[in-house]
Symmetry: C2
Subunit: 179 residues, 2 copies
């Protein structure tokens, strides 16, 4: 076992550590000259509020070089993430298999935003049930349901009706829960 006494927390990237939804909205607004913001979504997914014939474009955005590298951090995440690293053994756990370019771009994102984050604590995995951490912070109910430790749901428009897991609405909530 690791020579490490701190509790271990795994943190998802998309929609938790990084604001993937804003990146999608930005690309969409740019292409179609719209001004959609997160507030317009309420509890709906972006794909649900745009014309059906434009929906396939969303996948194209994610496949374009740079999409995952240039995603902004989730508001409020940077400071709290740094604080978490002082108190916990932190892993970044993210799926990257759906979009082939995203391996290198997600890795580059982490290195750009947290240059001293250790490679050893970056995990690309499609099934978070494989993680042996104490906590998992994720926006995906499916992943949280498979996880063997204590799950925490990070709020996103798509998971508003999910009630099985303790919910954290934003990074201020993360701080209150873990720090």
């Amino acid at each position: 076992m690791a020579d490490e006494t701190r509790k271990r927390i795994a943190i998802d990237m998309d929609e938790v550590l990084v604001d993937t939804l804003s990146q999608f909205i930005g690309e969409y607004n740019r292409e179609f000259g719209e001004c959609i913001s997160k507030d317009h979504l309420s509890r709906r997914k972006l794909a649900e509020i745009i014309p059906a014939d434009r929906r396939p474009r969303l996948r194209n955005y994610a496949l374009a070089p740079g999409f995952f590298r240039d995603i902004p951090p989730m508001p409020g995440s940077t400071e709290v993430f740094a604080e978490l690293r002082e108190r916990y053994e932190v892993f970044i756990a993210t799926a990257a298999m759906e979009f082939p370019t995203s391996f290198n771009e997600k890795y580059a994102w982490i290195k750009a935003h947290y240059p001293d984050f250790p490679d050893s604590h970056i995990v690309f995995c499609g099934d978070k049930g494989v993680l042996a951490t104490d906590f998992l912070l994720d926006d995906s109910p499916r992943q949280l349901a498979r996880f063997g430790g204590s799950p925490f749901l990070f709020s996103a428009p798509h998971n508003h009706d999910e009630h099985r897991f303790p919910r954290l609405d934003d990074w201020a909530d993360v701080r209150r829960q873990f720090l």
Copy 2:
């Protein structure tokens, strides 16, 4: 937790599922017109039996496009790996952070050799202590020491003097142990 009653086994790629050492030797022989084989290594690392001024070349091989994509499977692995998948929930767990091109190439390797292997069960991680599987099959004593489940050491020239873990010499040994 996963809705899965089979035991879970994580299998390393380099030097276990794939014959990375042979790939290094092949590149070296090609560049320098040598005929080194694994038998020449005995218990030594490749870097130890070649002239010191050529050692930096090894890292270059691993950085070259195609190196990780074209590695041959470890002898005897293909059939036993398929049998393991029938009896166990199998994860492929490999580090890829040291060589930037290796994310996509390792992923491509898996897809080429096991087209039906699920993305969800591919894990890129630098610290195998994060894996929540029952077993880990790896050539690295350092990784096995961090793992919380039952570790098995897959023999490689570099780990010959390691005695802390149950040892499996080849894929026939893997079959005897797990099937």
